[in-house]
Amino acid sequence: MNGKERMAAAMRLSEPDRVPAMCQLSLGHYFLNCDQSEIDIWHSTEAFGDALIALQRRYGFDGILVNLPGRDPNWRSYIERIDESDEGKIIHWRNGWHTVCPSDDNPHVYRQDDTRYFSTFEELEPNKLFYIEPHDLSGLSYPYGWGFSETPADERDFFPSWHFDTIDYVISRAGKEVSIHSEVFSPFTQFLELLDYTNGLVALIDDPVKTKACLERLARGAIDLGRKQAAHKVDAILISSAFAGAGFISPDQYREFVLPFERMVIDGIKAEFDVPIYTHTCGNIGDRLELIRETGTNGIDTLDPPPLGNVELADAKKRVGDTLFLKGNIDPVNVMLLGTPEQVFAEASRCIKAASTNGGYVLSTACSVPPQAPPENIVKLREAVDAYRA
């Protein structure tokens, strides 16, 4: 089996020739460990695509998550100048905004008044929402427009063709051998990103009716994006739902504000495409694995173990492993970042033993691999799955 076939088998709950290994790497990890500059990796389709493939090959992973959108090919034409600062490189855009690009973390866009843009809940009109892309070149906007355009995007043709360029780029170069996954932000994540987390969470209490109207609209955009990604032949789609764990909301709030809308997204994509869809929710999710399953997802990603989260992998396998594939459970901080290669190998072996029986498990860190995680630790994941097969 190659990586693509191996991942497909695991995601469909059958038994591959060995446990596949595939991690989501933080963007900072690409910045620190690839030849291209952080500015190019963030802003250029080709540079990011090359970085994704380079680290997949270096670490021997069976899949790649394309977790930035394709970029406007003309992005350089919007730049006025680039400065150096203590915080990293600063891109000054022609419209007066600037992007701070740290050498090891995600860039962020600031407007003329030196603040990041967030919408207010009061100004939101649900029917003007469709999809929020937090990683757009120019950050967030409402009503949503791409890049520095002042014209809101029309939902009848919302996603520019270049939005899918990175997927095409990576599939054309690595898609025959490894599994290529795309990312769609869950309606709940989009909502919180647009409003800022505090205001978004308070809105659940202040006006649940309007909140749900917003989420319903954002689900439509997520369906549209997921279908288009599937049409571009991704092997799986990850629903990024980072704020749906117990660190943020209760199981009841999950049932009210997350579950119906993620189910809409998953049902909407699956109505047209038979593509595996899995859900990435961080932190304490041990109390809601069954709720996550009710969204119709095919798998759960992260599964943070104590102390970062509260998921015991063997318990998760017993509870939902008959219907969902599981991916993750290696502590990204205490093992991948701060641990030794031997500890990584031991933890990887523990996870494989706990969850790989009858297939349906992908060896992975729980959340993203931290920027400073030593590459010699990461390669141990692949060594562990090879050793287990042997």
Binding site: P102, T198, L201, A246, F248, Q253, V333
Partner: protein, 217 residues
């Protein structure tokens, strides 16, 4: 139910309008501002903290309680200042570089302010150099750092190292908090305390101030 109990209850359910009204009523009734703060507002927020810790309340409810607390404290704070009540201590608080999450930091700041501390909020994405500059400018008793991301928590160690290199580490206490950190991480990076939630952060800050006073010549 006494007016202070009503005040606590209104805060627990996150009713800022009722908290504003009841705080005003309590003041009109002649209750001391410090009493209203301690036995009404902070007492209510302690209940919120405990329920949050026990997973009986979650962030949306906690944030509405914090909003109500802020409304009450806004009425009390000027009266305490006018009466010459000295702050319990001065704390610089911020979220470390690379991390723009401010929920936890803001909750802790609200609770500390309510508990009588002077708070200098240096914001989010704060570099080690900015923490050093803020310490030089404001001479705090405590520096509080927050991180929500596993990718940014190591910045806390960078800040502590920078404070040491600037010769400032021995003059201050350092507290940390945030989803991915814990007590052993605090010890490992050389912080003086870890606050597991906003209420606990107040307790730890008081302990740090008391320990400093106890060792003063």
């Amino acid at each position: 139910m006494s007016i202070l109990e009503q005040l606590s209850e209104a805060l627990i359910v996150g009713n800022a309008t009722a908290v504003t009204r009841l705080t005003a009523q309590a003041l009109e009734a002649g209750l001391l501002p410090q009493t209203i703060l301690d036995e009404g507002l902070i007492a209510g927020m302690n209940v919120v903290g405990n329920r949050f810790r026990n997973c009986e309340m979650f962030l949306p409810e906690v944030l509405t309680s914090a909003r109500a607390m802020k409304a009450g404290v806004a009425q009390i704070e000027p009266l305490l200042a006018a009466a010459g009540v000295k702050p319990a201590g001065k704390i610089i608080i911020g979220t470390v570089r690379g991390d723009l999450h401010d929920i936890g930091k803001n909750l802790v700041a609200i609770m500390l302010r309510g508990a009588g501390f002077e708070i200098i909020d240096v914001g989010v994405g704060v570099t080690a150099q900015k923490f050093v500059e803020a310490v030089r400018e404001h001479h705090p008793d405590i520096v509080g750092m927050s991180a929500m991301l596993t990718t940014t928590m190591m910045q806390m160690k960078t800040v502590i190292t920078a404070l040491a290199e600037a010769g400032l580490r021995d003059r201050i206490k350092i507290m940390i908090g945030g989803a991915p950190v814990n007590n052993s991480f605090a010890e490992e990076i050389g912080a003086d305390a870890y606050g597991r939630n906003a209420s606990n952060a107040v307790e730890k800050a008081r302990n740090l101030i008391n320990s400093t006073k106890a060792t003063e010549p």
